[in-house]
Amino acid sequence: MKEITIWKWLIAIIVILALFLYVPVYIAGPDCLETVFQAYGFTPLYHIWNGLIPEYQIPWIANEWITSFLSGILGIFIVFAIMYGLGKLIVRKK
């Protein structure tokens, strides 16, 4: 298998994120599960955890594109690092 150039792929993913957040694909309405909840007048009965960046919106940044983009980049690197780290851990434990 040819080598996988990590940085090239990560940059490609970030470009995809930037483009799709910029083009109005992202404007789409509520997701279907939320719509089903709304249709039947249901509200979740309890809430136990507030995320650090709820709904991908960094509280002190007003611009929706910038806040979503920064959340996306943060998420990309966290998810990549955890998956890579876990993989290395699994591989090492022979």
Partner: protein, 219 residues
């Protein structure tokens, strides 16, 4: 399809936690051999996980002003294996719940079950089609059908969970159609995006797509 907390009964979530922990442990133990033999694929697993995170963040519009997003299990399973897809999608769901409040924290077990275990049925469809039809057509049909069916199954199970939960006061006869009516369209989006990525990789990096003889059923 991210279920928040306060929707499903606690007994359901505990049951899902038991299933999910067993599935995670099995996937980690069994993936060890595969990842040891194919260590160059580890960056691909991490990159695919990052890609799935982004694709789950980007909603595509469907009819009625609603939106859906990719789940991505079948895509990762096609390129790597179902066990690695379970670990990949689970990682995305954990980060989404912990940092971005996308899906509940207690309900994480249900979300992992729905989006990282149930879609295995879709992958089995892909696997079966490729075993029957060992050519490019088999790859394309298998990818489209597998991705489509994975979402239909996930929505079906999610609908059943809502109907069974005493917190959501509507029966299965209501909740299952309410979910499926929208997810038959979202599943088309999943199938189209998965097919487009597989088609692109097949043209640009065919070495990343396992040949029929190398297909992994579980790990």
């Amino acid at each position: 399809m991210h279920i928040p907390d306060g929707v499903l009964d606690l007994w359901m979530l505990i049951s899902f936690w038991i299933i999910v922990i067993i599935a995670w442990a099995t996937a980690i133990v069994k993936s060890r051999k595969t990842l040891n033999e194919e260590e160059p694929k580890l960056p691909l697993l991490a990159i695919m996980t990052a890609m799935i995170f982004v694709l789950q963040m980007l909603n595509f519009p469907i009819i009625g002003g609603m939106s859906g997003h990719l789940v991505g299990f079948v895509l990762v399973a096609i390129l790597l294996s179902p066990a690695q897809a379970l670990l990949s999608i689970s990682t995305v769901l954990i980060i989404q719940a912990l940092i971005f409040e996308d899906g509940g924290l207690v309900a994480l077990s249900a979300n992992v079950f729905n989006m990282a275990i149930v879609p295995l049925f879709g992958y089995l469809v892909y696997y079966g089609i490729r075993k029957i039809k060992d050519d490019n057509k088999g790859l394309y049909i298998g990818t489209f059908a597998g991705a489509y069916i994975s979402i239909i199954f996930a929505a079906l199970i999610c609908g059943i969970e809502l109907g069974v939960s005493s917190l959501f006061h509507y029966p299965i006869e209501v909740t299952v159609p309410a979910m499926l009516i929208w997810y038959i369209f979202i599943a088309l989006g999943e199938a189209a995006i998965t097919s487009a990525i597989v088609l692109y990789l097949q043209r640009s990096r065919p070495d990343l797509i396992p040949k029929t003889a190398e297909l992994k059923l579980w790990w």
